[in-house]
């Protein structure tokens, strides 16, 4: 059947589109043309992702594409299963909206460098989600890392450059540790392909060491608590769309890899202590992130700290996934965490866009000086509030569904203390969201003149993202059974989908 042949082609296309977009945006001279073409490519990317998702949900089977026709161990493969298809869909939708936002956010001078780096970052992201080869992941991680650093440094201010540098150093260190882990795996098992590794890997000290190295490298990039110091500075000093994509996608990509390695590839090497350790770190991250967010003086800093906290939530997956000792990974928790990623990405991106509007209107984003914000930028406040709702996990938002599923798995697996942590996290999040809202609603501002409410279109994009965050809380059926699509072991026969 026709579509059967063409669909696998979508995978390489998924990586090629951003690359081509990057090349074109480098070569193209005028800003308007560059922006137009970029929007076209963004729409194309969404269509491809949609095609992939539809294919998966109808045929319920994962796709594997062998680049260069050489087959798994020798050549490199691209694979897509339920989880990665969902992540691709999320990132392409988000990229579309953020591209629309940044089409008029950047001055001509900046946009020359912004668009190519933006597309290279997206290429890196797509490569990570599609990668099935350990070393290929390293290169993709590196593309994503470096282009993220370059985008953060776009700001040009000293703070931006310093935080970009710190982010670069951390990124480099993380990637090298990851590479060391891959080297050990190659030494022990002789193959770089993830699927082969998952069949061959067993519980011996070398695998355990390489898993911990890989995890350390990825934790550095995901900014879990002790290794999070670089995130607040980087995310808060970057331009709005960049910090949105950083918080929403880049950090999640390394978490996606962690999930792949812990639950898919090297799952025999994982053990109870490691899982609970990650869980505890996550819990501490939630509490600490919220407290720091409460004390933050600048809005973007507050949002960045809230990212640190929300990442803590993600790591609660590890202790809850293995239902009390049995190696069987309970699918409900993974679905919950994926939902969390979905909801958090949309909500956090919306928040950063709102913060971007506030910064461009006021010139600063010092929270205490934002009194009467509700008069001047009503749309920004609405976006911030709705996104806040999803972060806290109040119904009817996606965040609520995620929290519900996590709570349910926590209680059904009898580990109720994680549930307490989650509820505490929700309340703390409510604290700092409430703080910002109460300042925004404070209308007895000394300047009686009512500001002309800024009517720019950019506020609209943040608002749509926030609404998306709420609406993905409704029809969860579709998302959850998409996640069921997984690779059956053992090795699929080569040559595309049978």
């Amino acid at each position: 059947m026709m579509s059967d042949l063409l669909t696998p082609l979508l995978l390489p296309l998924m990586v090629a589109t951003p690359l081509i977009a990057a090349l074109v945006s480098i070569l193209v001279g005028s800003k308007r043309l560059r922006v137009g073409i970029s929007l076209l490519f963004a729409i194309l990317q969404v269509l491809i992702a949609l095609g992939l998702v539809l294919f998966l949900s109808t045929y319920q089977s994962a796709i594997r594409y062998e680049l260069g026709g050489w087959g798994a161990p020798l050549g490199i493969d691209l694979t897509v299963d339920g989880l990665s298809a969902l992540m691709l869909m999320l990132s392409s939708v988000l990229v579309l909206v953020l591209s629309l936002y940044s089409s008029q956010y950047f001055s001509h001078q900046d946009s020359v460098r912004f668009w190519p780096l933006w597309w290279l970052l997206i290429a890196g992201l797509n490569a990570v989600f599609l990668a099935a080869d350990a070393f290929n992941i390293f290169v993709a991680l590196e593309i994503m890392g470096l282009s993220a650093v370059a985008l953060v440094s776009l700001g040009g201010s000293r703070a931006a450059l310093m935080s970009a540098l710190r982010y670069a150093l951390v990124g480099l260190l993380g990637s090298l540790l990851y590479l060391l882990g891959v080297a050990l795996l190659y030494r022990a098992y002789g193959t770089l392909d993830l699927l082969m590794l998952s069949t061959v890997a067993d519980h011996n000290p070398l695998t355990w060491v390489s898993l911990s190295l890989i995890s350390l490298g990825l934790l550095l990039k995901t900014a879990l608590l002790p290794l999070h110091f670089w995130l607040p500075a980087a995310h808060s000093s970057a331009p709005a769309p960049v910090s949105a994509v950083l918080s929403a996608l880049v950090v999640k990509a390394s978490f996606y890899l962690l999930m792949r390695f812990w639950f898919d590839v090297l799952s025999p090497a994982t053990n109870e202590i490691g899982m609970t350790a990650l869980g505890v770190l996550g819990a501490v991250a939630i509490i600490w992130g919220c407290v720091a967010a409460l004390r933050a003086q600048r809005l973007k800093l507050l949002i960045a700290y809230s990212t640190v906290a929300q990442i803590g939530y993600l790591f609660l997956l590890f202790p809850l996934a293995t239902a009390s000792g049995s190696s069987m990974i309970n699918a409900g928790t993974i679905a919950a965490v994926v939902y969390f990623i979905l909801a958090h990405a949309l909500a956090k991106a919306a928040m950063f866009l709102a913060a971007g509007d506030i910064q461009s209107y006021y010139g600063h984003d010092n929270i205490n000086k934002l009194k009467g914000l509700v008069l001047t930028l009503p749309m920004a406040v609405a976006t911030f509030a709705i996104a806040g709702v999803s972060l806290i996990g109040l119904p009817p938002s996606g965040g609520f569904i995620a929290k519900w599923l996590l709570l349910e798995s926590a209680i059904s697996s009898g580990k109720w203390w994680w549930a307490v942590i989650m509820l505490m996290g929700g309340l703390l999040a409510a604290l700092y969201i409430g703080k910002v809202l109460s300042i925004a609603f404070n209308q007895d501002i000394d300047r009686p003149t009512v500001h002309r409410p800024a009517q720019n279109r950019s506020a609209f994009y943040g608002f749509t993202l926030a609404i998306l965050a709420v609406f993905c809380g409704f029809n969860t059926e579709w998302v959850l059974n998409l996640l069921e699509v997984q690779f059956e072991r053992p090795l699929m026969t080569s040559g595309g989908v049978q």
């Binding site: 390293f138 290169v139 890392g145 650093v149 970009a164 150093l169 090298l176 590479l179 030494r187 770089l192």
Partner: protein
């Protein structure tokens, strides 16, 4: 057989030195150099797996080659940023924000 083991041990030692250097020193350039040393250590371990008696495995070589290029790119980006920071301001040890814990 002991040849590649020797290489791997030196690789590990290099990694140790690189790690210590990158963590202990606060000067950017020192840190960068340390990270490069660590990279080389990793490449050494990777290459040490290539020798199997008569057959030499080309995969580690290709991988290391790509690794080197990526490391260069990373380092040059860091240098570029360090240079720009150096040009921008005198205040070399500026705390990014007061309450960064």
């Amino acid at each position: 057989m002991t040849h590649d083991l020797l290489f791997s041990i030196t690789g590990v030692v290099l990694i140790g030195i690189g790690l210590f250097g990158s963590v202990a020193s606060t000067h950017i350039i020192k840190k960068l150099i340390a990270i490069n040393i660590m990279g080389l250590g990793i490449f050494m371990i990777f290459l040490s797996t290539a020798r199997h008696g008569m057959i030499t495995d080309p995969i580690p070589h290709a991988v290391v080659l790509t690794g080197i290029v990526v490391a260069i790119a990373g380092t040059s980006l860091c240098l570029w940023l360090a240079l720009k920071i150096h040009l921008l301001g005198e205040d070399t040890t500026e705390e990014v924000n007061a309450n960064d814990v």
